[in-house]
Symmetry: C2
Subunit: 572 residues, 2 copies
């Protein structure tokens, strides 16, 4: 294919808003162009990469026995309301509202995902255990009302996902389906050139039994993961298990109020009163399912909201400063869960680390005062103790006995064992061999397809541009014509390679060699061939791998062999 | 592929709402399933057909030199407002509204089409005539707020379209691009097994110079076309040209009012007063771009709204009875454009057929009265004469001298020569070789991809089910296993055919032969093979074409040859 028919428009400068390299290269190499916040057009070279990614996903999903369908983006709200998570998910959804028949009633949303639709679809024909198991998947456009879309295709409002859904007769069978998808994901990411790490993940809004995220470490990732140095343990931060740094407990002694004017944070008390964070109690007021709930943690710990939700709530959020004042009659810096507790509080949950601790400091519920020598069991109102805290850097993972590192990561895939949450509420049931009715056991499995496209750039680039893995490259070979008089030579090479299934981008523009070399490096095809007087005098065509600094001269009649070999080597 | 892994769920009965055969078969053969009004999930066999259709379109678009991109569904309203047709198009658009950040301001819509987006995209890099011509296309999901979605995939709210956009330096070049797409469309429809008729069409809301629709006659079609018996002339009814039935004009004589109580239609006056429709004047009050406009036609003619708009309006609609009374101070049955005209009327446009006519009858603008012996030039206020009327069945087409038939049709494709309407307003400009700036000449070209899927069913079925053309069939061969003990024979045939690139659906379910035969006919693969004791005793496998009544026995070692031959024959 000729450069001009490929419709590539490279840019010297990236737009100012492109904060990360992959976003900059995405735009500079002419792969995509922003239409509006979080919404991108894919241009021909970008679309070619996307199709290569889709092909890999499709092949591996089909090999794993999954069957492809195509579900709609427009989804009735009524269906979401019958499902188990409308309230938790609605804040990320767009309403599709008729422009002409405007009503206040919303009846249609744009699907951010398809658990409800597929479960209802399957409910329509599932009747017998003989029909199980099966896994359906699609590659389809999703919409998500991201408040702050960023980083190009990494966090968009419109994006392409592969989503799959498995249906099984029981939990063990569902685990097998989960495992098959897990293994397919390992192959998919490997084939794309992505070293994805599977980490234990929280099931969050999706609900369900267990899940893994497939992530790659990246400073701008949205997720945090905890990982041991040797990688033998890795988990999403919400899920990570670790041994807290120990605290030396003391004997109980008499509690005493003391003035702390201007001290409103853990850090203030540490600095101005010399009270170590681990001797303080953090009092967090939340609104959980409409009720006022207090979470208590050691001052050096942070609340893991996923664990907080797992205490049995559907949704929660921190109370605002005004709300807190109304609830506790005290400003945010002096709160404590001291007895007697305000009638406004429905529940107090304390982190396990606080159990039986004495000699702690907490707010006195009076502005500018704290109390010391607090005995948790004697002085605080605690309804239950739970694991509430986030793992911290350097804490030891109990099973591997190794310290945890915490790093940001991009989530590229996610596999969930869902259980029967959706099938129960939407009636996807079957009769077993004894004629008893059961809800199907489900799993769901997502890959951010457009996100992968950009993640590959993030993982494979250098200062000059993108270095595509062969498997997803828009073209495998970049063929530069340096001298118009040699057009026939170049076109013959193009034709010969293409006849052997090798994709070639022939840059035959009337541009200087320097421009073509720069563009070839920027767009990043794995193999570069240059046809010029100089190379011909040297005996052939110059061949250079994008990732290598060195080039060789290859006689024209050996090009096909040389390239075939290099491509198969790069693919391995 | 085995029946069960293909996920086909056939139904004996179609849903009651499926009014046309193709819609019934779409659902009964398990190709698609309705999610909500006008919104369908595509199931595996339906998706396979869709992919085959897409493949044909892609090949022909690429062969015609078009380059594929992928544009977003979410589009900023601001862009539409800068473009030339927001007011005319907004009633078919969905607003995408944030569920959580609800504002009254709409800032994003779901694209029903992409002229604005592509023109702005191109405006971003188009600078020189050297970059022209080019044609970009995509196959992408569109959203349209259909008030009354009907007929399955024929008129949906979410559907897949192929849309293409050409950019040229001038009108002649644009006509060449148009012609290339026109010819690609002819090949596309032919390869799909659709005998599409290109008809001259109105450019409507799209604006532009000229256009053709590719239609197939169908009683439930949304469009009307006028066509001569030999097909040498065909046009959308909005565009059709014909010679009106002549009227014998009379000499002018004195106008006279006469009572017509209860007569409020053309037909009433014909019946009760013996006044032929062609001697009456039809007075239609419209609201056009906010002004009150009267259109006058002969009583036996109908207003062609497309021609009315072409008088220079952006949008128009008939005034309602109350509006008419307020404007004319007279109810709807007695209107006339008699002098002196009500001050409320801004413009009166009369059809060419009324020019210089005498002896006509029109309403007296007094309830229950009409006037006779009206001379159009003497008695009526007419600002201009225009061609306003729809062609009627039996009228003669002036160039071919043949009578017109009028029939309903489904529009499957549409090609427009747009001119510079979009490029002017959105700044897609280039410099010519002399450095002068011009707006690019555009064309746009659509195919309703999901609509084609169902149109093929509408065109290719019999009482038993679908008869797919080979080119789009979900599988080419339906292989029925009648006896479990012969599984190995069947699987060997399946394997051999698939190894030669022939797609096979093996029905190995534990069902009776009758069930499998019925399902094979319903789903409609072009070739059917049955493997059973009976056929083996007869010397091989029974082979039958879906469209034929007869079958033959083919020895197993000759199946591949026989089928390859039949498929290439069917493809021809």
């Amino acid at each position: 294919m000729k450069w001009n028919s490929a419709f590539i428009h490279t840019l010297r400068e990236a737009p100012a808003e492109a904060e990360i390299t992959s976003h900059q290269l995405l735009i500079r190499a002419g792969l995509a162009r922003k239409l509006t916040a979080g919404v991108y057009s894919l241009l021909p070279p970008g679309l070619r990469v996307l199709r290569n990614i889709e092909k890999i996903i499709r092949e591996e999903m089909n090999n794993a026995g999954a069957v492809e369908v195509l579900l709609p983006a427009l989804q009735p709200v009524e269906l979401w309301k019958r499902g188990p998570r409308y309230e938790a998910a609605r804040h990320v959804m767009y309403n599709a509202q008729s422009a002409s028949r405007r009503t206040t009633e919303v009846d249609t949303v744009l699907g951010p995902t398809h658990e409800e639709v597929i479960t209802e679809l399957v409910a329509g024909w599932l009747s017998s255990y003989r029909q199980l198991p099966f896994t359906l998947y699609q590659i389809q456009t999703k919409f998500r009302d991201e408040i702050r879309p960023r980083f190009g295709l990494m966090r968009g409002r419109e994006f392409i996902m592969k989503d799959a859904y498995s249906f099984d007769t029981n939990s063990e069978a569902a685990t097998r389906s989960y495992q098959a998808m897990y293994e397919a994901y390992e192959r998919i990411f490997r084939r794309m050139g992505i070293d994805a790490i599977p980490v234990e993940a929280d099931t969050g809004v999706m609900g369900g039994n267990f899940s893994h995220e497939f992530v790659v470490p990246c400073v701008v990732g949205e997720s945090e993961i905890a990982i041991t140095e040797d990688g033998s343990y890795a988990a999403a931060i919400e899920k990570a298990v670790s041994v807290p740094h120990p605290r030396q407990n003391t004997a109980a002694s008499a509690m005493g109020k003391f003035p702390t004017p201007g001290c409103v944070t853990i850090c203030d008390l540490e600095t101005h009163h010399g009270i170590p964070a681990k001797d303080q109690i953090k009092t967090l007021v939340y609104i959980a399912d409409g009720k006022n709930v207090i979470f208590l943690l050691r001052g050096d710990h942070e609340l893991n909201e996923a664990k907080a939700i797992a205490c049995g709530f559907r949704e929660l959020r921190p109370a605002g400063p005004e709300e807190i004042f109304n609830i506790m009659n005290c400003p945010i810096g002096s709160l404590g869960a001291l007895k007697p507790l305000s009638q406004n509080i429905s529940l107090v949950i304390a982190d396990n680390c606080l159990r039986d601790q004495n000699g702690m400091v907490t707010g006195a519920n009076i502005e500018g005062y704290h109390v010391r020598n607090v005995s948790v069991s004697r002085d605080l109102h605690v309804d239950e103790f739970r694991d509430l805290r986030k793992a911290l850097v350097g804490e030891i993972h109990p099973e591997t006995n190794q310290p945890l590192q915490i790093t940001r990561a991009i989530e590229l895939g996610h596999v969930f064992k869902l259980g029967t949450k959706y099938s129960e509420s939407l009636g996807a049931r079957f009769l077993d061999s004894q004629g008893r009715s059961h809800a199907a056991y489900m799993g769901c499995y997502g890959i951010g397809v457009t996100r992968c496209l950009q993640a590959i750039i993030e993982l494979h680039h250098d200062a000059e541009g993108i270095c595509w893995p062969v498997s997803v490259a828009p073209w495998q070979v970049s063929l530069l014509l340096f001298d118009e008089s040699l057009r026939e030579v170049a076109e013959n090479i193009e034709e010969q390679l293409e006849a052997h299934g090798i994709t070639v981008l022939l840059d035959d523009r009337p541009e200087r060699p320097g421009v073509k070399l720069k563009d070839a490096d920027l767009v990043g095809m794995p193999v570069r061939l240059t046809v010029g007087e100089k190379s011909l005098k040297a005996g052939g065509v110059e061949l250079k791998l994008r990732r290598s600094k060195n080039s060789i001269i290859v006689p024209i009649d050996q090009i096909l062999n040389a390239i075939s070999e290099m491509l198969s080597f790069s693919n391995a």
